[in-house]
């Protein structure tokens, strides 16, 4: 084996023989091969949790489909990414998700739903959203059996308990990204976790403690990774509520945070000469896409402090 082929495996991807690095996931190999595999819970700066199941592919010889985001390629594997079984599963998963969660702010979801012809409405009209606190009080292993005429959703009021970001769990698809970013993948603060079970599973602080009383340090890394807009910066939330959010008037500029010597890359999204969102590129070797409270939110002084005349 010569130097260049060491650590490579050869397998069949949609009828083509392709090479991949050993230990690489099917999803990564698909990207290298130019195959666009849908996913909602995967992010390059987080450990794959393979829960959304939108990225499933068919591996010949396996009883069930495999999540491409975490399944590693093996030599000789025969993988189909667009078989009828794969298409049908992706369509159904998107329908189930769309029927239970408000996915209206996910452009990825809209694209995928179109691509796979998903009809989230086929499970019937959506049930009324729950009143505040109802979903949080469900007992594991118990639920109230309805008459089945309305499709249950995670609908509920938005939680606003601080001025930096809001939590609209009506839009939470439970992708675990926020928990990972708050926890062992980046911030290691562990202010939130998945609580409850089954359809009542949810992202929560202990006993639903408001964020300012929880362990939260307001780094906003949860917001940074949220794919559905369930977690949203207050500035953006307020603009949207006021009908003033206008992406056509927005620019994005990368710069460096001024708050310490680490040199975190900030992506400033600006509308009407105001910063409306601060993120960091997930491929930055300095930040890995994550920031602290000062870098994320500490920009107000350029807008609001009395500037030197």
């Amino acid at each position: 084996m010569n130097e260049s082929s060491r650590g490579e495996v050869e397998f069949t991807l949609d009828g083509r023989s392709v090479k991949a690095r050993e230990g690489e996931t099917i999803h990564a190999a698909c990207r290298s091969a130019g195959i666009d595999t849908p996913t909602l819970c995967w992010a390059e700066n987080l450990t794959p949790v393979n829960v959304c199941r939108v990225c499933v592919v068919e591996v010949e010889g396996a009883r069930v489909l495999a999540p491409s985001c975490s399944r590693k390629v093996e030599a000789g594997m025969v993988v189909h990414t667009d078989s009828p079984r794969v298409r049908s599963s992706r369509k159904l998963v998107l329908e189930l998700l769309g029927s239970s969660v408000d996915m209206s702010l996910s452009t990825d979801f809209a694209d995928y739903a179109k691509r796979y012809g998903a009809e989230p409405g086929r499970f019937g009209p959506r049930a009324q959203p729950s009143a505040a606190g109802v979903r949080e009080s469900a007992l594991p292993g118990h639920h109230e059996v309805g008459d089945g005429t309305r499709a249950a959703t995670v609908g509920q009021p938005t939680k606003v308990d601080n001025d930096l970001f809001v939590r609209d769990y009506d839009k939470c698809m439970l992708c675990y990204k926020c928990v990972e970013a708050c926890g062992s993948d980046a911030q290691n603060t562990f202010a939130i976790a998945v609580a409850g079970r089954g359809f009542d599973a949810r992202i929560a602080t202990e006993h639903e403690t408001p964020l300012p009383d929880s362990a939260c340090v307001f780094c906003g890394n949860c917001v940074g990774v949220c794919p559905t807009g369930a977690l949203m910066f207050k500035a953006e939330h307020d603009l949207r509520e006021a009908g003033k959010w206008d992406e056509s008037k927005q620019t994005e500029t990368d710069t460096i945070c001024s708050y310490c010597g680490v040199g975190c890359v900030l992506t400033l999204r600006v509308q009407d000469n105001k910063i409306v969102r601060v993120t960091s590129p997930s491929d930055s070797s300095v930040t890995g896409g994550h920031l602290c409270v000062k870098g994320r939110f500490g920009f107000k002084f350029v807008e609001e402090s009395p500037r030197a005349p």
Partner: protein, 610 residues
């Protein structure tokens, strides 16, 4: 770790319960250093049990104290506590009843018990209650009972579990439950323990000691050929044991039927260390109670078999994960492990072999999903009982990320005869494809419900005959084979030989050995909806196909039950849901959540009623 805790203090009872588990020397200080904190996490579930069983609920102060002691982030501990049905995050009376309304018990009149209980004790805990709420007037407040999924007492349906919290907690599970027996148990007078009915068609192997040897006596166990297998294992050497188990063609009895020998070899050969052995005693498949009967009736056999598994796989530590609803098994297993330790049969240098092995008993807390092997690992590790994606398989990456041999109780007990008498003796009964004997959990409308040991290949009608046949005056309608994750078979399939290969051919499964008989007086559609509700309740919630699919499946059945639509009209949706749950779910729960219902459709069980 720089955790933020709250200022709510534990009560004296909570503190002493947690200290009794974790020791008092450490005071409030968590373990020092990240590695030590990580290692302490595995004590989270036992600590939550300590709170629940001492005061009857997991209060804010209690939970926070556990977090301080173990260095667990409060949000994560809350996430774990709120995962399990046996932990209450709202204050409850210290005496509390869990009343089974699952399929076998419903068929046996559980609804009548529940409605009478509701009249006498008030409404059950269900739906919603705000966590962390302490009632002003103290312990006597709040609902006194809740409905429960299968309690594994199907042979004496309907069943109930009563828990009485306190410094010396008293839990009891019993069958033939009535409202008044439950009330008496809540008042501290539980019914007398009844041993399960067991029988066999030939010489007993798995059940040899059940009901024969005193389960509380190591001497009695040894007098009935106990520890002969372990002695033989030491003669054979680890390689010899692996060879015998492989040659016996023994396959797992938890439902998945994976060859045990291959599993053990993979662990034995794995280079990562340490290795672990796990006994999966989280028997929760509705209609299943065979493992309970072994655990209660022959606890030393499980201890001995785990020791052999440890020897063969190069493991020094075993975990026995027992479902939380089995108080009698808990008592007997604890006693067996202590006796074995005292007798030099666990610990260092067992029987002078130089081999060291010990077992830790862990108690589940009301989550069917923890019977899934990787969810079980997470549960032991102090995480939410969410299954992991496979591969990697447990033999490579299992408990604590290490190579792990995880086996069902019945599988382990079967190993004893294989090692003692050799693979050839074992394969002399049963069929070529499924050697040996199998335990079946026969319940429902039969004369003698119980656990039956028969050779593989025994016909279904022969097994029913052994159980005395269908109750007098009743006509058999259908049989649920393999549990809620299995499938229904019809009257025309009574000649089916009970082996893995024959059931597979017939498009059904032996699953965990459930044979639940329904007569034609039992309305089937509510039973089907109960199965759908079960999967909705027990889904861990991780993956979308299962989390939402089980809800849509139940809604669909509700529409049919309520006459809002017809089965015919719903069939395409039902089929699609079944397909996506089977194909795209992470684990077996979602993958099998529609099988019983789809088999019922195929049998026409819906049409009969409409």
């Amino acid at each position: 770790m720089d955790l933020r805790h709250h200022d709510v203090l534990p009560t004296a009872a909570e503190r002493s319960a947690v200290d009794a588990l974790l020791g008092v020397e450490a005071g409030d200080a968590p373990p020092a250093g990240f590695a030590a904190v990580r290692d302490a996490r595995t004590l989270l579930l036992p600590a939550l049990h300590a709170l629940q069983s001492s005061v009857g609920w997991v209060s804010r102060g209690g939970l926070d104290y556990v977090c301080r002691r173990l260095g667990v982030p409060p949000a994560e501990a809350f996430g774990v506590a709120s995962f399990y049905a046996l932990f209450s995050l709202v204050q409850r009376p210290q005496a509390f009843a869990h009343v089974c309304d699952d399929i076998a018990c419903t068929a046996a009149g559980a609804e009548k018990v529940c409605s009478e209980l509701e009249r006498k004790l008030g409404a059950p805990a269900s739906g919603h209650a705000k966590t962390g709420t302490a009632h002003e007037d103290g312990a006597g407040h709040g609902p006194r009972w809740a409905r429960s999924p299968c309690l594994g007492l199907c042979e004496r349906a309907p069943a109930a579990l009563v828990t009485i919290a306190g410094a010396e907690p008293k839990d009891c599970a019993f069958g033939a439950a009535t409202a008044s027996r439950i009330e008496a148990a809540l008042a501290g007078s539980p019914p007398r323990i009844e041993e399960a009915y067991v029988a066999s068609s030939g010489p007993r192997r798995l059940l040899a000691r059940v009901g024969v040897a005193d389960p509380a006596s190591l001497a009695a166990y040894r007098a009935h050929r106990g520890y002969e297998a372990l002695a033989r294992a030491f003669e054979l050497g680890a390689e010899g044991v692996l060879r015998e188990v492989t040659e016996s063609k023994l396959v797992g009895r938890g439902g998945a039927a994976f060859p045990t020998g291959r599993k053990w070899e993979a662990v034995a050969r794995a280079t990562a260390r340490p290795h672990y052995v796990v006994c999966n005693a989280d028997e929760s498949e509705p209609g299943t109670f065979k493992d309970r009967v072994l655990l209660e009736g022959d606890p030393f056999a499980v201890v001995e078999a785990m020791t052999i598994a440890g020897y063969a796989t190069g493991s020094q530590r075993g975990y026995l994960y027992l479902r939380g609803e089995y108080p009698l098994a808990l008592e007997r297993l604890s006693h067996a492990i202590e006796s074995a330790r005292a007798g030099g049969l666990l610990g260092a240098n067992i029987l002078g072999s130089g081999f060291a092995f010990d077992i830790e008993l862990r108690r589940g807390a009301g989550a069917y999903i923890c019977g899934e092997e990787t969810a079980l690992f997470n549960s032991i590790e102090g995480l939410r009982g969410e299954p992991r994606n496979k591969p990697p398989f447990p033999a490579q990456v299992g408990l604590f990320g290490r190579p792990t041999a995880v086996n069902n109780v019945e599988t382990l007990v079967a190993v004893l005869d294989i090692v003692r008498d050799g693979a050839a003796s074992y394969t002399s009964v049963g069929t070529a494809g499924s050697p040996g004997t199998k335990l079946f959990c026969v319940s429902g409308s039969v004369v003698r419900p119980g656990v039956y040991e028969v050779p593989f290949g025994t016909r279904l009608d022969a097994l029913l005959a052994l159980a005395g046949g269908v109750l007098p005056g009743k006509t058999m309608r259908t049989i649920l084979l393999g549990g809620a994750a299995g499938g229904f078979v019809g009257r025309d399939q009574l000649s089916l030989p009970l082996s893995f290969e024959d059931t597979r051919k017939a498009g059904t499964t032996l699953g965990s050995g459930v044979v639940l008989v329904f007569d034609d007086e039992t309305p089937m559609v509510p039973i089907l909806r109960r199965i759908a509700a079960f999967f909705r309740d027990e889904s861990c919630g991780q993956c979308i196909p299962c989390r939402v699919g089980t809800v849509r499946q139940e809604e669909l059945l509700s529409r049919v039950v309520n006459g809002r639509s017809t089965l015919q009209g719903e069939l395409p949706l039902l089929k699609d849901l079944g397909q996506v749950m089977r194909d795209a779910s992470i684990c077996g729960l979602g993958q099998t959540a529609s099988s019983a219902i789809e088999s019922a459709v195929a049998l026409g069980l819906f049409e009969d009623e409409r």
